[in-house]
Each structure stands twice: as C-alpha cells, then as structure tokens.
C-alpha cells in the first residue's frame, strides 16, 4: 500500500481500524520528501522531529479509541502561516530567521483537530506571484513536468500534495494563489468566502483580498479540512460571525439528489477570450458537458466589468502591500543590515537587501498609486471599479447558483518563461482574481490533461458563504469526470 498516496478520508479509516499508525504515515511522507524534494523543491522547512513527536502522540490517542477530524493526518502549511517555534519565512530573506511565538488560528485549529504539521512550503515571496519563481529561497517545480512551474503563489503547498509529500495542505489565495497552483498540479483547491476562515496569524499581503483555504487530492478532503478551519475568530475582526455548516453534507446532498435543478452561469465575457489556449477551452467545454449530463442547466450570464478586473486588482493589491510591508523595518523582527548611516539608511538597506525584485516592484507601484496627487486617479478609481465588479457578481448570481470557467488560460508555463515580463504574468490571473475582488468562494477541480501531460482545472465560483453549492457541484463533477489526471510519477 502506498501510504503517501492516501486521501484524508482513506487514511482516517486505516488509522481508526489501526491497520496503519500515524508514525507509519508521517514516516512515509518524510521518506518521500527525502527521495524527491531535492528536485521538486516544495518545502522551505521540514519539521521532522516535531512531526514524528506529534504522530506518536496521535497514535497514543488513537490507541485509547479517541477520534478527531484530522487525528494523525500529515499536513503541510504555506510558509506565511505562523507556527509557534517553527520558522515562518513568507518566502522572503527578510524573514529568513523569523520564529513566531504564536500559532495562526487556522494552524491552532488544525492542531486541535489532531493534524500532524510536517513543515512549511515554498511560495512566491509574500504571496506575490503566480509561479513560485519569486521565492527568496528556491524555485518549486511542477511534479507533472519538472521543467514547468507549479503555479503560485501557493506553489509549494500544491506541489507537496501532488507529489504526495503530505496528505493535504493549506494555502492562501489573494488573486488565485490556491486555485491556480491546484489547477496546474492536478489537484483540488478551495478559496473560501472572505471572512469564512480567520486570517489571524496569516502574514498579510493584501488584507482585503487574502483568504486561507485547503489544497487536497479530492473534493471530499477539501470539505473535511473546511470543517476544521472555518468559523468566527474574535482575533480577526474581518472573520464573519456566521455559523459554519458541515461542509461534508454538501457531498451527501450530491449523493442523494445529484445536481439536477442547479443552474451554472458562464460569463459571456470569458468566452473566446484572448490568450485562452485551445486545450484549456476544449477541457472546459468537455467539463461543461459533464455538468449538463448531471442535470445542471447552463445559462449565459454577464460580468460587464471583466475587462477592468486585472487592472483594478494590480492597483489595489500593491497598494495594500506597500502599506502592509512597511512593518519590515529591521526593528521588531527579521534581519537588520549592519553598517547603516542612521535610522532611515538602516531602513533602506534592510528592506532593499531583504525584499526580492517583485516585492520591491509592487511596493513602488503601490506607493505610487497611494501618493499625493495620484490617489484618486489610481487607488480611488480602482476601488470604485471593485464595487462595480462586486455588483456584477451579485447580479449574475440572481440567475444562477454557480459560475463556471477555466481556472487559468493556459496549462503551467515553463520555468523562466515570464520572469522578466510581469504584465503577462499578471494577465494569467484573469479568471481567478475577480473572486477575490468580490469576496466569493471558488473551487479548482481537475478537468483534463494537456498533450504535454500538464493538468488543467475547472473553476466553480459561488455566492458569498455558499461554499456548499460549490463543493456539491465540484464533488459531482469529480465523481463523474471521465479524464481525471490521477497522480504524477516522480
């Protein structure tokens, strides 16, 4: 039995029946990391001792007949979620030696549910990127084809799940950073509604857009993870005071009622979009047929402000970033450069040495958009456009339950292909970033494999706080899709 390839659901059953132990499972993952991570580069930090100790503790609890939703399950975390005593770098040299003194709420919830934290995964620095090439440490490679990117910014979390170095992981999504790498790596990623999962202890990039969510091998596993991490947290004033449902009941709803009666909207602005690869278009058309065969009614909807989404996003996100990243001043935490001439010079030397090129580019962009004389023209205008985009989705959802589209316009591109061309890289976020602007949930579920053996994903968006419809449709699709990618050979 390949322990590393188990889903959460499968592993839980084997753990409960004592056929396997958590130490077996965690050891299988650590062996897998030893064997393959030198070429994949999914992890920044592996907490071998901590993981084995937590696994032994889980086994002791299992031996006493205890149960918890993730008891003994090995999970990896994107390296911007604070973990007590385990360094949290955010993919940045400026936080290379930062060791948090507290757990992010999502991490505390995973631990309380019995999860074993294996380590911290690679990412574009502070979440700024779509390829994980912007990490301050190393590039992560796509387990399906090592010459290609895994997507980003949660590329390490997605690659670790696809390469079976963990059973599941957490990522974060500011403009598609869970869904796009999940799509490129042939697995499942869910960005919950803004406010559904506490952001406390998540190192901020763009606070009005960031959201934490699961990256898993199946939709069922994503629902199991959501049951653990969702819910109100008094420590995050933007976390919603709404009760979280049992997300796995959305799977039961499909099993008992299928998808008949559900309406899926396809935005007319997304069809025939420039830059959409024929292979992605074909995979999406096939996916649409699968949903139709399940009884889903397809309707045309309109998101009239789609053409402005990328531009508005790349004003708002860098603006928030330039403000959020002001805290890295070489005083409270992080590296401080020596040999500075006074305080201002110390700030400048510390920040220029600590931040990579994409982060500095976005800080400059954001500073410009917020600076005197340009605020109304850039930030103000982009924020008003965001209101229009939110209204577009509200109106579109009057006529449908979910909205479907490809996740990314192309399969994963080659490493190095877009490094010096930030704008092309930004445009690849077109299908995903509107969901962050509107604060709605979105799921990426595999829907095909390209001629070059690279996976492609179907995106299912839902109304605010209606992850249930998204999970139900995604699960229905997953159970019925003819060409599921399986797992890559390493």
């Amino acid at each position: 039995m390949d322990l590393h390839a188990l889903t959460i659901d499968q592993a839980k059953k084997l753990l409960a029946s004592r056929e396997i132990s958590s130490v077996d499972l965690v050891s299988a993952m650590l062996d897998r990391i030893d064997a393959h991570d030198a070429k994949v580069g999914a992890f920044i930090t592996v907490d071998r001792e901590g993981a084995l100790a937590a696994a032994s503790e889980a086994d002791a609890r299992l031996a006493k007949g205890e149960d918890a939703p993730l008891l003994g399950i090995p999970v990896a975390l994107k390296d911007l979620l604070c973990t007590t005593g385990v360094r949290t770098t955010c993919g940045s040299k400026i936080l290379e030696d930062f060791v948090p003194t507290y757990d992010a709420t999502s991490v505390a919830l995973l631990k309380a549910a019995g999860a074993v934290i294996l380590g911290k995964t690679n990412m574009d620095e502070f979440g700024m990127g779509s390829s994980t090439e912007n990490s301050g440490f190393h590039v992560t490679r796509n387990p399906w084809n090592l010459d290609h990117v895994p997507g980003g910014s949660s590329g390490g979390s997605a690659a670790a799940v696809a390469a079976q170095m963990c059973t599941a992981s957490l990522g974060t999504d500011t403009g598609g950073s869970i869904r796009q790498p999940a799509s490129h790596c042939g697995i499942v990623g869910l960005k919950p509604t803004y406010g559904r999962v506490s952001r406390f202890g998540l190192v901020s990039y763009a606070s009005s857009l960031d959201q934490i969510g699961p990256i898993t091998r199946t939709v069922r596993d994503a629902a199991i993870m959501m049951n653990v991490i969702a819910g109100h947290d008094p420590k995050d004033s933007t976390s919603a005071a709404v009760d979280a449902p049992d997300f796995t009941s959305a799977l039961d709803a499909f099993d008992s009622q299928g998808l008949s009666g559900m309406k899926a909207g396809i935005p007319k602005e997304y069809l025939g979009m420039e830059g959409l690869s024929p292979e992605v278009e074909k995979a999406f058309t096939d996916a649409r047929k699968v949903l139709e065969d399940l009884g889903v009614e397809i309707v045309e909807v309109s998101l009239p402000h789609t053409a402005y989404a990328v531009a508005a996003y790349y004003v708002l996100a860098p603006s928030e970033a330039s403000s959020n990243l002001a805290r890295y001043d070489g005083v409270k935490y992080g590296a401080r450069q020596k040999g500075a001439d006074g305080l201002i010079d110390m700030y400048k030397k510390t920040r220029s040495k600590g931040f990579g090129p994409e982060v500095q580019r976005r800080i400059i962009m954001g500073t410009y958009a917020l600076s005197a004389g340009y605020y109304d023209e850039y930030y103000g205008r982009a924020s008003r456009v965001r209101t229009l985009i939110m209204d577009d989705f509200s109106k579109a959802f009057e006529g449908c339950d979910i909205i479907i589209s490809p996740v990314a316009p192309t399969p994963a591109f080659k490493i190095g292909e877009n490094v010096d061309d930030p704008l092309t890289m930004y445009l690849s976020d077109i299908f995903t970033l509107s969901a962050n602007m509107a604060g709605i949930p979105g799921l990426s579920v595999p829907c095909g494999v390209s001629k070059n053996g690279l996976p492609m994903g179907l995106q299912i968006l839902g109304k605010r706080f209606d992850e249930m419809s998204v999970i139900r449709a995604g699960y229905g699709f997953e159970q019925s899709a003819p060409s599921f990618p399986g797992l890559p050979e390493l």
């Binding site: 005083v331 209101t387 604060g439």
Partner: protein, 95 residues
C-alpha cells in the same frame, strides 16, 4: 503613463527602499508598462459609484473593550534583531 527615473527614486525613498541605478532604469520601464495597462481603468464609468468596503461584511464589528492577557515583552521581543533589556534599539536618530 510614463514614470520617470526621478519618480521611481522618489517612490523608493517614500517606501524606504534603496535602488541602484541599473534597477531604477528597469523599474521605470516595468512600472511604466504596468501603468500603461492600468490606464484602461479610465474607460470605466465610476461616477456616483462608492468606494468598495469590506469584501464580505457589510456591518461594523464591535467587541468589548476588555483587557486580555498579553505575552509580555520577554516573548514579544524574541525576534528583535537588536534589543536592550525590554526595549528595541535602533541606530541614533538625532545628532
């Protein structure tokens, strides 16, 4: 919209970044390219449209103003690159 090298240097100073000459050149080209693309926003009719507020919550959030236990300076200052007892230290600010 072209952003000049002087603009880049000014923004870098405001953001407390030190950019060398070769980087200033590259940044001014790249940021100008991005700003050209962002100019598309000028075509959007935003008259009378309010600024976007929180992405999900439409109401303000209140909590009791109650003192909670805090970790204290010995924990909070753990990651300080330079400290003196319970204080952060910084390079000399005034002459």
């Amino acid at each position: 919209m072209k952003i000049s090298k002087e603009d880049v240097e000014h923004m870098a100073h405001l953001a407390r970044l030190e950019v060398d000459d070769s980087l200033v050149e590259k940044l001014s080209t790249q940021v100008s390219g991005i700003l050209d693309y962002i100019d598309i926003l000028k075509n959007a009719d935003v008259s009378g449209v309010p600024l976007a507020s929180g992405a999900a919550l439409q109401t303000n959030v209140f909590r009791q103003d109650k003192v909670e236990p805090s970790p204290g300076p010995s924990v909070t200052l753990t990651n300080a690159p330079d400290r003196d007892d319970d204080f952060y230290t910084v390079p000399k600010v005034v002459g």
